[in-house]
Symmetry: C2
Subunit: 210 residues, 2 copies
DNA sequence: CGGGATCCCTTAGGATACTG
DNA sequence: CAGTATCCTAAGGGATCCCG
């Protein structure tokens, strides 16, 4: 038995050996958003040592979680089908952890992929009934888009093609999602700026809940 | 920012910092089964160094996951309400990891609490409709009991008070739960031994599915 | 420039012994 | 029983270097 193994025949132990290693869950998180190149992963995970990224990718590949693919003369890392099935567990963990969040520490950053997963994990299908709309959310440099249709949401990185509402905001987005700030208050105190149909902000705020 | 922090303001990162440390998920798993004393945790997690257990418990306590309680002149560790809300995520991870399990390696052990969580994570409520029954499962030294009622299951460590069916088995239980072995085959080849109402074995096998 | 490998140093974690 | 204390190894952090 490997030195890093826990020596138990147990599903949770297998999962822990694969994804509870340092940085592994964050690599999986970013790959759940989209397949990426080595350098994209490095950039999306500020602070990860390059040797650790290489080692994790190798282990995740051996574990059947990640696949290395050659695409257009570049190396692409993507989740296998088995890896994608981690989504439910990752979303559950993210939801749980988000309840602990208060304010960002001064040295803490927000990455585009972490925002995408934050929205995915807090989406409430029941609030999307009868709504078809496209949103773009901007936090500083970060842009992501939310498309809602048929009670389903698709959240991805980047700008939306033709958003019904563009929401420019900042850290206050967390208060809005936690219900500590109403949409009306957010507009009034300037913590969100809207472009498009402003009535959609209420619907948007109901869609996601920490 | 602590050296072990990931420096991101993100729910998943917070969760990872708390429970993706080495051994932390297994400590949580065992505490999800029942509150325990320090020595019980040591015994239930073969191979954990005592200093690591002490360090983890301290961190989990600081993180609001675990509470240290004095009970009857002994120290009891138990999950806080917040810690108990990890159950959904832990079960999801355990289910995911269980799909990777093939055979136990020669040096891998099975602990009572890992079995309890395996049953909890694979329970299918739809298979329990209209069933009220009490089972005891024995694997070598390990005994656990399953009580099914109103489409809900309660799985806990230890023998059942008055089981309708006692199932003595071995590693074959995993094949049975994975659907690789039918109840009839399991009885025929001797990989399960029954005491009580043998017709309940079919129901039992349907209740849990990897 | 993308995709790593290598180096050095620090620290967490494993093994075991010991104590209030 | 509930942990410290200690020693040692291996993994992780940080920077740089290398190769196609």
């Amino acid at each position: 038995m490997s030195r890093r193994s826990y020596g138990q025949f147990c599903g949770l132990v297998r999962a822990a050996e694969l994804v509870a290693e340092r940085w592994a869950l964050l690599i999986v998180r970013d790959l759940l958003v989209s397949p990426k190149r080595y350098t994209d992963l490095l950039n999306g995970l500020p602070g990860i040592p390059t040797n650790v990224l290489a080692a994790r990718l190798k282990q995740l590949e051996e574990g059947g979680v990640v696949r290395r693919r050659l695409d257009d003369r570049a190396v692409l890392y993507e989740l296998t089908e088995y890896g994608q099935e981690l989504e439910a567990a990752v979303l559950a963990l993210g939801r749980w952890g988000a309840r602990m969040l208060t304010e960002p520490a001064p040295d803490e950053v927000v990455t585009p992929d972490s925002m995408v997963m934050a929205f995915r994990s807090t989406f409430r299908p029941e609030a999307a009934q009868g709504l078809t709309a496209s949103f773009e959310v901007r936090l500083g440099e970060i842009a992501l888009h939310v498309h809602v249709e048929d009670g389903e949401a698709h959240v991805d990185a980047g700008a939306a093609p033709a958003p019904d509402l563009v929401i420019e905001t900042g850290p206050a987005i967390k208060a809005l999602m936690a219900g500590e700030l109403t949409p009306a208050e957010a507009r009034a105190n300037g913590s969100v700026r809207l472009t498009g149909d402003p009535r959609l902000l209420d619907r948007f705020a109901a869609l996601f809940r920490i």
